[in-house]
Symmetry: D2
Subunit: 325 residues, 4 copies
């Protein structure tokens, strides 16, 4: 199929590459002309503007927007809505807030355009491993895009098959699902990222406790000096907590045993926060996912005003003056 | 009554003073001779050693040990156990772990000594306000010490009386309780401190959110520059969250609006940790008390190894390199 | 001053009463005619409709809207905006989300109306104790309403004065503050409620641990059967954790030692959730306030799907089948 | 090698089987004669008592104790200590608290016995997949047991090799490590289980949020009815959160979409609690691991006294009476 990739950052470029390797035609556009030239060098059809993108199609157009969530995506989709013809398909493959998808799908429907949201996981490894995709939109449109998703997905690979899936939708086993109407794809991806934060923090706390076991605060005969790279590695082998994140942990620790290259300031993208919003809207307790998010906030400041307030109260009732330790 | 105060730090000295003001005789001992001399100057009977303390009594002795929990208290009580005569009373007024009280009470009973644990709250304000006391030990011994507790406690004061207390033990209304057998006093005090951590952290987080509302990260028309000293003050007046800790917060903020004198490193004593241990032994969920304790741990380090591990994983799947912000 | 009270529920009626006691004239309106008749019997000027409310003023009108947040308040204010004349003042005294205040203040300004938001704490006790008020709006309007706030506030009372407040705004000491522009009042009240949840949960967990200490799961010589009403009472007296919430706890426990009249399902209003939203917008960690909110969510369901998923995983790796305990 | 397996429950029996398949000789003992007979039928040397176990060796004996942690393990090891001869090796393969290992290793050393602790992960799947093992003890003894560990471990299998491990200890890649002196094996296994709880709870909360998205509490156009078995399945394929626990989740959901066979009461073993103890001893914040543990406590009770206390306070200040919802 012919598909326009709008946004040729790391993710967009790799998705375009995997599509071309799979025999699809890609119209490539980015504000950065060099990025377009690079893709053209790899076989893509270069476009110089959104208008030009539109001109590169005969009949039904498929636009895959792969831009930062928020204004860049919003403005591009608004423009496309004006340039597109009835029946065209706009795919938002970025990290959009799902309520924006619901709103946009309604606007698109008024113009007889089809809107599809695709939550995509796999990071920089997706080009080789394939992308795990969670898709929202009308059934007919999602079905029509089947060849695209088929190419991008990891496929069944050599994973042990889950017992009991006979008769269930086999797209899940090939690495993509039609999660529901517009917004459902990004909603499922959002929760995926919320879980990701929780998993990561669980490992982080565990390794912190392993590391802290050599602390001189402990009685000497209760200290252990543990080999963290070996521990991460052995847990990959038959343990209950083996995972892809643990594989990455093992790689990271093998390369830099003390992780000295990192400052310890950890970013978060919107999905973690939105997941907590969703939990609160549903009145679902989510202590682990929230604590994981808050640990990242805390990692980015040296101290908090709240910490100082604690010291102030302690001074108030006990005459303690807190000193750095 | 005559009572020996062993340990003349801030707490011990003030308790001794309040007892003397209430007409009791205090035998004062501390390893620091100056502290003893100071108390003697205020009317106490100076003692030069634990042996000397023992010699200053005719008949039944009452020892109030007011030393740091752990080795100092343990060793002193061991020595007293040897020096004392059957019928003597050893009071541990410090912050001892309640299981140590249970053990010691058994040892004391074998020597026909009486062991009483007194958890004491009130901080440096206790000399004037009186001490809130939670007492563990045999009923007869606690009853015998009534004049001591009566003097040290705040008394009913002018607090609004709690409806429905007719017929209940009026010692609680005067500021002390006999909580149960040995250990029960320190157990109740331990939970008191666990709650204290939780309350303090609730205020700390709230004021952090008030403070953060002026952040330039927010859209300009959603920012407020709030007057924190005034907010603390107004909440003292008829609000649901008025409390003594809020009174202290108001004092602290009035004196130093930005709390610049504090580094933000916050200590914790054993009680917070022991409260979580107790919760786990009982299988009681205690997310708030635990989060309050962990916030203090986090306040004392610049970064954690776990934070770096998060960055390492993020680098692994997304090629992100975390930078300080 | 003459003020219209729109909404005569528990809060609105008591505020109207306190105003009349303070010499103000109150125009009373509610959809429930009986509520209006009751207030009229206590000296208010009865109104039969919002139009009638408007007709009861000569010159500048002051409307105090005291209705449930959301649609009831929104619709009433919309109607008032149409009925009012330039210079009139609309006060929202309910639990409105502060971003709604910001929006409404802008709309009102276009009609030359003044919008003021008043966050009010004090519950059913406010009639006697006075109301703690956090106010947002233009300075001139808030100043003009001074006599109203003066009457409603608790006043300085006999609380110990906070050191260091000479030269600071004395309205805080009388029980109300002008927190900032429109929305600031409800923002501060929102954080107040967030803190309230945290404080309440800290006490809840502490008393849970005290209660659990009698559990038969514990070794017999480590169990205590503690008197919770007495503990709550004694902590009111000179302890670090004395507070108004503890006063209420002591009343509740004295009346019903085992709190058997309560099911344990605990509601939450919007402010707790909005406080977490604010924390996330500011990237402020708020583990305690969040855990307090989530404990309420959890209290309202018998089990969660997540709990079942844990059992399913345990069955998967260990062959455990979870049984009720 | 010849090794005695003491304790033939699910884990002990399977470990014995894997050893025998690997060419080792197993002396089998259990208090349950049937269990012994079963193993004998599979080729093991049956023993009728610990004394008989001892008699079944010429020269250096190797005892693998695989019993519930606590009294059963403790008593068995005490008895073995008396029966064994200098040079014999006692392995504790259960879930023992690592401080007990440290203590026991000292006692054993006084009798010239060697004590080795082996933390074992893999559950019921270990017989086929192999066991991930974390080992504590003296280097020479661990080296001597190499053939045992080699047989039990999963081996390198077909996992992608971690970059950067050239020159590092290759035992980790084969599925076992010598973590340090006695206790280190169980310490690492303990943290493994702490992490396991955190990972599981992260998935549990995420699926709870997915499930809750169909709730009628939400506005109709924001509800999604999501297919959880398909979501679990697709996340196995190239997503960042793929893991073995997710594989099990996918199996569980495929078999029973609503997990109706489970009550939602979730047990915990000691390791989760000990991990938090270790975190507190090291002053390491561990909000996620703790919240995961507490969620299990909460799952096992219908309500808490703390919940009722919240309602009591709410009644106190607001006149609310909480009703079931």
């Amino acid at each position: 199929m012919r598909l326009a990739m709008i946004g040729l950052g790391r993710m967009g470029a790799n998705i375009a590459r995997r599509l071309m390797r799979g025999g699809h035609e890609v119209v490539a556009f980015d504000r950065d002309e060099k990025a377009v030239a690079t893709m053209a060098g790899e076989g893509a059809i270069a476009a110089t503007s959104l208008e030009d993108v539109v001109a590169r199609f005969d009949g039904q157009r498929i636009f895959w927007v792969m831009l930062p969530a928020g204004a860049p995506t919003e403005e591009t989709i608004e423009t496309l809505t004006k340039l597109a013809a009835p029946g065209d398909i706009i795919i938002d493959g970025g990290n959009t807030f799902y309520k924006d998808d619901i709103r946009r799908a309604k606007s698109c429907a008024m113009e007889k355009l089809h809107y599809v949201d695709v939550g995509t996981s796999g990071g920089v490894w997706g080009l080789e491993r394939g992308y795990c995709m969670m898709i929202g939109g009308e059934e007919a449109t999602v079905d029509l895009l089947e060849p695209i998703f088929e190419t991008l997905a990891p496929g069944t690979g050599d994973l042990v098959r889950t017992k009991g899936r006979d008769g269930l939708d086999n797209r899940a086993e090939r690495g993509y699902i039609h999660a529901g109407p517009a917004g459902a794809g990004h909603f499922v991806k959002m929760v995926h990222n919320g879980i990701e934060y929780g998993l990561m923090q669980a490992y982080a706390e565990g390794f912190d406790i392993l590391k802290g076991k050599s602390s001189e605060k402990l009685p000497e005969d209760e200290r252990f000096s543990l080999n963290l790279p070996d521990i991460a590695e052995v847990w990959r082998r038959g343990s209950v907590i083996s995972s892809w994140l643990l594989d990455l942990t093992a790689i990271g620790l093998a390369a830099d045993h003390d992780l000295e290259q990192f400052t310890g300031h950890v970013s978060d993208s919107g999905e973690g926060q939105w997941t907590i919003d969703a939990a609160m809207e549903e009145a679902v307790p989510a202590n682990v996912l929230t604590a994981a998010l808050f640990a990242r906030y805390r990692s980015r400041v040296d101290t908090t005003f709240g910490d100082k307030l604690l010291s102030s109260m302690r001074y108030g009732f006990g005459g303690h003056v807190e000193m750095p330790q």
